[in-house]
Structure formats: structure tokens, C-alpha cells
Subunit: 346 residues, 2 copies
């Protein structure tokens, strides 16, 4: 049995779902992958940290994970005072799972510093944070290769739906010339609501009431979130580093009920489409913008908070993947799937 010690940096909805998933899948991981996963540390920005080289008790941790970690019961060799950067470099940590809240379009801190420090210390890194991967994938990949460690980020695009794994493994041997998708569930939900008659403002309010959109929704509705995912796709598929300013970007804020109805009258539907294509000379063009799609387009039928992606390949034509694009458990699954990929390489 191979033991992997995990440090979890950031403990929001995804982190809590990941802890629950580790509990539920412990026997499965042992039986299927000969893997014993031990959560040795967890760090939050304002609710404390916990570290124990023998492993934290997952049930006890789950019970306090939404509140102050000071309520976690005492155990031998437990430390409650480590800074994240000190915690994640401890010898008993094999894998750092980075889940801190970041603003990716700015500097993606503190996730960026955490990931750099973890890789420099020779730790495997798994993250669902778009920011560091969108901003610095070539650097982080080179550092991971240099240290011989794993860098997993399946959860950064389409949550738990294996969009990146599909491009990397499922389509291995094909050449992908273009990618086109609905990569932001919040805007897709808003557009679906507008189709049922709501104004943009009403649909946005509904999305905020359900917790899909934040109080300041600009990251979603201006297409910034989708552009970040497109940057990650361009890294993985084309090996090209795009800046946010290289992506022609238009959000959904100017779409009116009249626009929605005009599309419906023509048998079409508005969708916020992220797309990128590589030219024969290696140039990559990319955009995020609302587009009218005919109902026969697989992406036109993707409603509500769902996401979808179509890869255009040389050998098998278009391949489309449709699935949930967010959610705590789904994104936690993406982390688990990276952990499984890592385990298979060990």
C-alpha cells in the first residue's frame, strides 16, 4: 500500500466536498489503486490551520470544516499554528491541493505563491484554481518536470467533467485544430432564464439568488471566467500561452429580451461561446462572445448551468462533451481524478 500525505490549502465548498469524498472513497482507492490517502494538513486564511503528520481524522474535521478549526479535537502531534507556506513544505506532505479563493485576472495570489513553493519543495500539486494555470502554466509545468512531480488541474475547466483529460488522453494521437465551448455555467443559466421571458436584470438576480452569480458578477458576465478557461485549453491543446488581452472578449450584458426573441424566431439560440483555433502557421486565435447558434448545434441544447465543449479533430471530426461545469462535489471529483492519475504514475 502506497501512502500519500495531502495538505489542503483553502477550505471552502470544494475543499469540504473533497474531504467528504476522501471518506467515501477510502476503501475504493485502497482496493483499486493500492493507495492510502492521508490528509495531514489543512490551512485556511482566517479560520485557522491544522497539521498532524499521522493524519487528521476526516470525520472530526468534517464536523468543524465550515467553522473555526480551533474546534477540532486535540490529538497527538497536532499543530495548530503553522502558516500555509510552512505547512505545505513539511516532509509528511506528498501532495498539495490548492483551493484558495483567487482573482485570476489579477495575480492569482495567494494560490500562485503556494503552488510555486510546493513545486520548489518537490511536492505534487493538484488545483482547481484557474489563475495560476492560466497565468503561468509554462513556468509551473517546467518546474514540475524539473522536480519530477505531478501537476494536476482537471478541475479548472468544466468542473468535474473531464474536458482536459479528454483532450490529453481520450483524443491522444488526434490533432485538435479548434475548440469551442460553453465554459461558464452562470452566463448559460442567465441566457436560459432569458429564453423563458426574463429580462437580463431579472435573470441575473435569479442567478445571484441561487448562488450561481456573485454580488459583483463581472467575472462571469463579462466573459473573464470563460476566457481564463480558454487560456488553459490553449496551453494544453495547442501549447500556446495566450494573454487575456489576446482574447477578443464580449460578455452577455448587452443582450436584450429583443435579441433573445429575434434568435428564437429564426430557430436559433444565444450562447456565450468560447472558442480557439490554431492556424497552419501556429498562430492561435481566440474569442469569448455571445453567438446565435442553430438549434441543430449540440451546444445550442446545453441549458441551465451545464457546460459543453466541442473539439475539432483531424481523425474523428467533431467530438462534443456535455456535463456539469461546477459544483462542490463535481469539482472535488476532479481533484480525486487527478489524484488517481498521479497514483497510476507512482
Amino acid at each position: 500500500m502506497r501512502t500519500l500525505g495531502i495538505a489542503l490549502i483553502g477550505l471552502g465548498a470544494v475543499g469540504r466536498a473533497f474531504i467528504a469524498l476522501l471518506q467515501a472513497r477510502r476503501a475504493y482507492l485502497a482496493a483499486q489503486y493500492n493507495l492510502d490517502v492521508k490528509l495531514v494538513g489543512v490551512a485556511t486564511a482566517r479560520r485557522g490551520t491544522l497539521f498532524c503528520p499521522e493524519g487528521l481524522d476526516l470525520a472530526a474535521l468534517s464536523a468543524v470544516a465550515s467553522a473555526e478549526l480551533s474546534a477540532y479535537p486535540d490529538q497527538a502531534r497536532l499543530l495548530r499554528t503553522l502558516e500555509p507556506l510552512s505547512l505545505l513544505t513539511r516532509p509528511s506532505v506528498d501532495v498539495v491541493i490548492e483551493l484558495t479563493p483567487t482573482v485570476y485576472a489579477r495575480d492569482a495570489e495567494p494560490a500562485m505563491s503556494h503552488i510555486r513553493a510546493a513545486l520548489a519543495a518537490g511536492k505534487h500539486v493538484i488545483t482547481a484554481n484557474k489563475g495560476p494555470i492560466a497565468l503561468a502554466y509554462p513556468e509551473l509545468r517546467a518546474q514540475a518536470a524539473h522536480r519530477g512531480v505531478f501537476l494536476g488541474f482537471e478541475g479548472t475547466v468544466m468542473g468535474g467533467t473531464p474536458a482536459l483529460r479528454m483532450a490529453r488522453q481520450g483524443l491522444a494521437g488526434c490533432q485538435i485544430s479548434a475548440v469551442r465551448g460553453i465554459l461558464n455555467g452562470t452566463t448559460n443559466f442567465i441566457l436560459s432564464e432569458m429564453e423563458s421571458g426574463k429580462s437580463y436584470a431579472e435573470a441575473l438576480s435569479e442567478a445571484q439568488a441561487r448562488g450561481y452569480a456573485e454580488a459583483d458578477p463581472s467575472n462571469d458576465v463579462e466573459g473573464i471566467d470563460a476566457a481564463g478557461k480558454l487560456i488553459i485549453l490553449a496551453h494544453v491543446i495547442f501549447g500556446k500561452a495566450l494573454g487575456l488581452d489576446e482574447i477578443g472578449r464580449e460578455g452577455i450584458t448587452r443582450l436584450s429580451q429583443a435579441d433573445i426573441q429575434a434568435a428564437q424566431a429564426s430557430g436559433e439560440r444565444w450562447k456565450l461561446i468560447a472558442q480557439a483555433a490554431i492556424q497552419p502557421d501556429g498562430q492561435v486565435s481566440a474569442s469569448v462572445k455571445p453567438m446565435r447558434l442553430p438549434l441543430s448545434d449540440p451546444l445550442a441544447q446545453v441549458g441551465g448551468g451545464m457546460n459543453a465543449i466541442t473539439y475539432q479533430t483531424d481523425l474523428i471530426g467533431a467530438v462534443t462533451l456535455i456535463g456539469a461545469g461546477a459544483g462542490g462535489t463535481a469539482t472535488a471529483y476532479a481533484l480525486l481524478s487527478d489524484l488517481i492519475e498521479l497514483a497510476e504514475q507512482l
Copy 2:
């Protein structure tokens, strides 16, 4: 550089496309997977066989692959008289790719005998033939495990679209409780043609004229082909061996233009749906039958010769994959993708 000697048994459209693909991807396989693929033998039932331990010339073979292999030019150590079963057990053969025409619902011969012989001789086996996998997967898998060899069959379901790889790798760590799909392109094409006003007979004639349907179309239109793919999915996903008689099966032959129009009037669409689900007690129920789907169902929008599959999972809900379900190059790609998976395990 690792060299793999390949024997190709069966040289129809898929085999010829595979030879072309090997030519096109030779440099890629070397650079990406450190793999030198050498086609050492090819066998047909009535057009001759060729075997050369140093490898056949792919360009020369391509030139004669649609006709008599006797037109292939002489080369040192070339043999033209080997029987398939003698050819595939030669020491220079590492991988047997089985592509002979078979009737899967009967005995899947001669593919079954070829695959058994290849595994018994310790050869890796890759096939796009449904028959042997649907009929005897537990036996063949056990034999492959016993000999420590690879058994690849991605091309048996949805052609080149990585439906099985998605279930095995892309969704690793999820539990799949149900699968539901459009697994036969011929019937989907016929139904799409009927939607545009043709009668069943006219639509079938059109499918036959395009080469999608055979002169005796029963394997497709009676749902036998889709049932075979469902059996393979049940093997892979649920670890259950279903017999063809355990699948509730109804074809599309009784659908009339009136049925099509009635569905259209209700905002629905007929599709030939193959589905299987596992119950908590481990029982698997499976059927292939025409169903009326609402247009909002991702499968309702899959038109023409396309295929699609939806996996119902515990952690990420429904995941749908849409892509081409047949085609020489696409199925040849499935063989290549198995070869790549094998190479990564060596």
C-alpha cells in the same frame, strides 16, 4: 526506441485506413511515445497474405491493399503463403490487430479463433470487432491477464469516439449507474431522413445507396448491432455479462411517418435508444428500443450518422459524449488509440 511488430488480420476499409494512419503518424509515434511500429504481416481471407519479419513497405502495401496482395513487390524474407493462425503466432509479431468480417450474434468467427490464438501465444490484441468482445469478454480478459498482454477494443463502440476510454479513464473514481445512448449510426440516419418526410422504405433505400446500410439491413434496423455494443458497455462498466436474449430489443422497422409526425407535433423526436442500468442488488437491466425524446434531451439533437452516449454518474451527474460512430479513418484511429495505450504500459 521500442519496436512493436504488428500483424493485421482482415484488410477492409478500416484496415486500409489503419495502414494509411500508420504512415501518417509514424514520426509522431516515435517522437511522442518512443515507439517504432512495424507492420510485419497482413492476412485476408481471399486476397492472400503477406509476412516479412523486417516489416512490410507501407506505401507499396497501400498501393495494392484494395486488390490482390500478390501484386505486392518481392522483398527479402517475404512469405506469401502463411495461414492467418500461423502468421499471427510468429515471434516477430507483438500485436495482433483483428479486423475480419464477423457475424457477432452467431459465433463471431473467425475473429474469435484468431483472438484466442493470439492471446494464447502471448500476443497483445487490438480489435474493432464487436463479436468476440460481446460474446466472450470475461474469458478473453482473463486470458490476457494470465499472459500479461493487452486487450484493446475501443473501436467496438462508437467507432473512433472514445466512449469506452471515457468510462474507463475519464470517469475513473466515479460510479456509473446507467448508460444510455444512440449507438447505431445507420438507424439514426434513417430516422433523420424520416424526419425530413421520407417513408421508412425510402429512408432505408437512401441509407443503402450511401453504403450505411447493408443489403440485408436487419443487423442495424432490428437493433442487434446496438445490443452488441450495449453488451460490451455492460462488461466494461458494470462487470456483467449479458446475453443478447437478456436485452429487451425492438428495432425501428415498425415506425411509420405518422409516428414521426406525432412526435414532432409534441416537440419530441424518435431515437433508437440503447440503455442499461445497474440496480443496487447488482442486477443489470438493458434494452434497445425506439423512444420519443424531448428536444431538450442532448440525445434528441444527435442527427444523421452521429452517435452519442450519456453516462449517469454518482459524483458528476450526467456526462454526454457525442461523435461519429463509424467510418474507416475514425475506427482506424480507435486502433491507434489502443496502440498508444499499450505503448504507455510497456
